[in-house]
Subunit: 234 residues, 2 copies
DNA sequence: CCTACCGATCGGTAGG
DNA sequence: CCTACCGATCGGTAGG
């Protein structure tokens, strides 16, 4: 029973406008950074005048905080879903990499910088905790699984803790993130490329850049050791 | 008030002031980013008035470009010196990591962002090339050594090219860079910490986070292999 | 959600 | 290397 007239309910329109502002501002803030985006740019991109923004958000900082909060929550839901799957550590890390390569634009370090230098202390603390809970924790849980299964080295074996591993993972991933304006997903080529990139990222992260030592020796000496089998996750 | 009396020191003073501006601006630009640093902040930190800056640099962009150019050249000289040493790939990478951990503040990605979004196309091209030649090339040369010695996997073996390896290296290193205002070097504790961090970074980069399977096997079987021999570099 | 407008600050210039 | 000052743009407000 749609009771919508030519003019939508004002509440629905307002909510839709609010979503438009959030989505538009997210794109701009993520690409250019907080200071480089003016409230007039955001309003123009939404088809509004600049003062209209202040009907939906108290000020520019509140808008930025809302954008970050919604963005982190959305990403976090996907990461938590992946993290809880019963698949292998390697497979889950690849799924995380694929998700982030597809859905995150630009560097999380730029976001860090803006949060640290542009937000007030209270907002800063709140967003930092949201980042830790929504983004870091789900990925770190995967690494924690790997540590407990002894698939990954612990700190006594020259490894790192799960949170450090997560940050290293995100930083490696940064190298493969698309820079600049977000292009719409190309169906075939780009998607297979993302799958390959995710495999490369996780493989480098887990096994490093070095030739496994028995691989090198196999060419020089008689093989005294069986082949590496990276397929067996456990 | 002392009048300007010695013409001999006039030129030297001017040069010293120029150096002061460059050094001060570098610290501020690196920490806060291009847009977040006003010309008045730079001038104040130098003990000058803001218009005085324009005696030494044409405008803010030219000052930023000069800062980046000098900074990259200085870092590049050190990297080239390390790169040309006859030591092993692993040792040189650790030396690079130690140098960057000691001498670079904040993320190179922030610098990228500023160059890309704040500079004109001509300056952008020039600084990008300086970055590639001074910073990327020397490190990539080390990885290239490793590839040719078959210490590192090539792309057919699931590895990456030397330039990609360099960017991954820099991104991993980002995780360990000190954030925020640069603290002066603390003699003992901080320096040994940097050495340890450099070891961790290179170890993770080369060997990954996973428990090496031969490590697991080595505890079960007799060791049948030696360390990598880096002597065949030349 | 608009028009009109505010003070603050920005990068940069004039002139000595 | 200073004082004085400019136009442009910023985030934000008043009032309907």
């Amino acid at each position: 029973m749609a009771r919508r007239q030519q003019k939508q309910t004002s509440h629905e329109e307002a909510e839709e406008t609010r979503r438009t502002i959030l989505r538009t501002a997210q794109t701009l803030f993520m690409e250019f950074g907080y200071r480089a985006v003016s409230t007039r740019q955001i309003a123009d991109a939404c088809g509004l005048t600049q003062p209209a923004l202040y009907h939906y958000f108290a000020d520019k900082k509140a808008l930025y905080a809302a954008v970050m909060s919604e963005n982190l929550t959305e990403i976090g839901s996907a990461l938590e879903r992946i993290s809880r799957r019963g698949e292998s550590v390697q497979e889950r890390l690849q799924q995380v990499a694929r998700y982030l390569l597809r859905n995150v634009q630009n560097d999380h370090n730029l976001m860090f910088h803006d949060i640290r230098y542009e937000m007030d202390a209270a907002v800063q603390d709140k967003l930092s905790e949201t980042f830790r809970v929504r983004m870091i924790a789900p990925i770190a849980a995967i690494f924690e699984d790997g540590l407990q299964q002894h698939i990954l080295r612990d700190q006594a074996q020259g490894g790192v803790d799960s949170v450090t591993a997560t940050y290293i993972f995100l930083n490696v991933l940064t190298r493969f993130l698309p820079r600049g304006p977000r292009q719409q997903p190309v169906p075939s080529t780009s998607r297979s490329s993302i799958v390959e990139q995710a495999e490369t990222i996780v493989h480098i992260l887990l096994y490093g850049l070095a030739n496994a030592e028995e691989e090198t020796l196999k060419r020089l000496e008689s093989p005294c050791m069986q082949n590496i089998d990276p397929a067996n996750s456990h």
